[in-house]
């Protein structure tokens, strides 16, 4: 039998317990050391653009919140900000605060989720279970506010869909206290464990230069000493009014990223608390009737980094182009700089440390409505009324006239 000698290739994926989603990493290994790495994505590419031709500005938030389940507050927010920039809408005070609170709650549960998954990846199931247990109350709060544990879809052009009732404020504050106490315990347990130090420190280092060259964002960048944060750099929602700090570390290894995320959780708790205290009275949305032609960029700091949306409108009720750049899209490719020469065991951990989100990466949520007929607000209203009348007739509903009531 003829034998050919080839480099052993270890496939991570497409179905692999490391990630819940599909990706296909090919690690060329020499014993346990990884000498080269390549990735094939496309498993998660849903190609939203063609079917989105029918979607209107008001419907798109629900679509973009389904780009990624965990960033389902930040994607719609970035999109909405782009649209509001085109329309020149001034959002009511209370809406800005509500948006901030929802986004920070999302960050808290997302970071706790990552800590848990990180523990799970290295076989530390106790940390996994504990972190996910502490995360549950936050999901419950979000469910109480928006009606869903995930996929909130709570923003709309001109404001928010659901308000935070004033009666709920004390309850949220109470839960936050509990979460803070438990996160504090978890943080101490994680940061003081010598075995964890041995496992995480000096692993998967992404240098500052590489971080700039790969244009990474979020905790991945902040762990490498690039202290960027959209919330501070280009304040949106109510972040400009709140008092908080950007956490950054210089080491660039997995441990630094863990520290950044854990400490950020406390900043988020602080922010929610302050925002709740200063929650202004008033309406949560203004009516926006038409989106004028133009183009706008919106970005928001998702738990994983900067989410960027670009919208171009031609004055119709759909955008002609909608570009999404999720944070993982730039964070994931940085594995080329941080993984080569590492152990297989470390590579899987390094890949996980950027908190990759392949649904985000392969979104391509391009909304493209070039063939649409342009209606103005009045025409739409008229069409809507006609449709209602038609449906009523079809189902045989009794006809009401305004005067009868």
């Amino acid at each position: 039998m003829k034998k050919t000698l080839h480099k052993p290739i270890l496939a991570v994926g497409p179905f692999h317990p490391l990630q819940e989603e599909m990706e296909f990493f090919q690690l060329t290994v020499d014993g346990e050391t990884v000498t080269d790495i390549d990735v094939r994505i496309s498993y998660n590419h849903r190609g939203i653009e063609k079917l989105s031709e029918t979607l209107q500005f008001d419907q798109i938030p629900f679509l973009v919140s389904r780009i990624c389940g965990i960033c389902s507050a930040s994607h719609p927010l970035a999109y909405i900000q782009a649209v509001e920039e085109i329309a020149g809408v001034a959002v009511p005070e209370r809406a800005r605060y509500v948006r901030t609170i929802i986004n920070e709650l999302e960050r808290i549960h997302s970071h706790l989720l990552w800590v848990g998954l990180g523990g799970h990846f290295i076989g530390y199931d106790t940390v996994f279970m504990w972190a996910w247990k502490y995360r549950e109350p936050v999901l419950d709060l979000l469910e109480e506010i928006t009606g869903n544990r995930n996929n909130y879809g709570n923003v709309r052009v001109g404001g928010c869909r659901e308000d935070i009732p004033d009666e709920m404020v004390p309850k949220i504050l109470k839960e936050l206290d509990k979460v803070e106490k438990k996160t504090d315990m978890l943080t101490k347990a994680v940061l003081d464990d010598p075995v964890l130090h041995a496992r995480l420190k000096g692993v998967g280092i992404l240098s500052k230069n590489d971080a700039v060259s790969f244009a990474v964002t979020g905790p991945t960048a902040r762990g490498s000493g690039v202290a960027i944060d959209v919330r501070r750099d280009d304040p949106y929602a109510a972040y400009g009014d709140l008092d908080w700090n950007v956490i950054s570390q210089t080491e660039g290894d997995v441990f630094a990223k863990a520290v950044v995320r854990l400490l950020e959780t406390f900043e988020s708790i602080k922010m929610v608390r302050e925002a709740l205290k200063e929650l202004p009275k008033g309406p949560i949305a203004v009516e926006v009737r038409e989106i004028p032609p133009g183009e706008g960029c919106g970005h928001a700091e998702a738990p994983r980094g900067e989410t960027f949306h670009y919208i171009r409108s031609d004055g119709g009720n759909r955008p002609t182009r909608h570009k999404v750049r999720a944070p993982s899209y730039v964070n994931v490719p940085s594995f080329k700089a941080s993984c080569i020469g590492q152990h297989v065991a470390d590579v899987t951990l390094t890949l996980a440390a950027v908190d990759p989100c392949y649904s985000c990466t392969e979104r391509l949520a391009v909304v493209d409505g070039h063939s649409a007929v342009i209606h103005d607000y009045e025409a739409l209203l008229q069409m809507s009324r006609e449709k209602t009348a038609r449906i009523k007739k079809e189902i045989g509903a009794p006809e009401f006239k305004l005067e009868d009531i």
Binding site: K50, E85, Y310, R325, D368
Partner: protein, 146 residues
Amino acid sequence: MEQEELKNRLSELKDELIDIEQTADNRIFLLCEASNAYGVARFLFEELSLRFVIVTGIDADDCFEMLYHFSNDQTGCMVTVKAFIRDRETPSIESVTPFVRGAEWIEREIHDVLGINFENHPDLRRLILFDDWPEGVYPLRKDVKK
């Protein structure tokens, strides 16, 4: 870099640009031809140290538009280079990947979905479409049938 300084430095590019538009306080659009895009983007990334955000490819019926979004993190200002590729038959533009490694994926993606050739790209393989996707069909082009 402060906003004023940024604007001054951007005016150095005047010869290579068609126009500079400012839609909002911190949204600047630099319009240029495809042949100048590489130089402008490189100037923004290396001289002004702006952060690369992403590239947007648009099929604008009469031409392809490549939008290179950069961000100035000190002021939160978005600087977008809008490059026009007039040749619809064999659209091509110079790749920025050699100096921004983070652009590798997005250029591969645009190559997939819009069929634009990126010159000097180190590795222009298929990224986002499935293995059996027919060659020469680009889902984001306007002329593609549903």
